[in-house]
Assembly symmetry: C2
């Protein structure tokens, strides 16, 4: 790297140069974060419904580590976006759209955790990292992870004993 060491210290030299296309991968931060949050919410809601029979705002708040106020506000947004339905003083339900998203999020989440563990990461670390990584794994990368899992399962326990 640093092929341009010549002008690396000449302040008034070249124009942009290092990034008309890098911007492609940087755009849309805000919407991206909102989508991540939506995924975590519907996933948690689905989990509560599966585990408790219903998703209450309070339990969701505990599950997500935020206050119930934050939950209620965000759930309002999710309802606006057609992912959940709510009625005053009642529990939260997923729409078809929300259920679909939750399913994808959950599948992705689990695959990432499994992959990280197979890579040799401690379970608690895998779970922690997956919580963030899951939102940035493309379908292509997910497939590559699955492929790795298949091959690493075949090759007995330790696939990388090349040491």
């Amino acid at each position: 790297m640093v092929l341009k060491s010549k002008n690396a210290s000449k302040p008034g030299s070249p124009p942009p140069k290092s990034g008309p296309e890098t911007a492609v991968y940087q755009r849309q931060t805000r919407l991206q974060h909102a989508q991540e949050r939506a995924q975590d919410y519907v996933e948690a809601i689905a989990e509560l419904i599966a585990g408790c029979g219903e998703a209450r705002a309070t339990d969701l708040a505990k599950s997500l580590g935020v206050t119930h106020v934050t939950v209620i506000r965000t759930v309002q947004r999710l309802q606006r976006e057609g992912l959940v339905t709510t009625q005053p003083y009642r529990s939260i339900f997923l729409t078809d759209s929300g259920r679909t998203l939750a399913g994808k999020a959950r599948a992705r989440h689990e695959k990432v955790v499994t992959f990280l563990e197979a890579l040799g990461v401690a379970k608690s670390t895998a779970r922690a990292d997956a919580e963030g990584i899951e939102h940035h794994v493309s379908d292509e990368t997910l497939k590559a992870m699955e492929k790795f899992l298949r091959s690493s399962r075949k090759g007995s326990g330790k696939p990388t004993r090349t040491y």
Copy 2:
């Protein structure tokens, strides 16, 4: 999963149940996002300085895919946090702290890209995914990725390119 299939459809049954500890991995979303943004900024600033000799707000804006206004505001925050220094109508400089962070971010970024490519992901996909994944990879996971890279380079005599 779903050991509690009994009450899985009985709305008024069990309390929280599925998440007093899952919350640990969910907290702090907002600060987390701000930190991610800071990492991307100092990394981009360092890159511009290395490539152009200086980091101008406009170029940074192009590189990050946002308007110059957004850049200026965020840079103000970074200055407040001691990562950069600026003077009116002059380019942006990294503090020691900022340079350190940029170095770590860059190293992490590249390792993640390399890892994804080694996993069999297309270069453009690897770069796109890495842009988000990089912020959620713990040191432990990073080490696991490095280990995988070492073993995979030995195994298949393919990439490597050690001169």
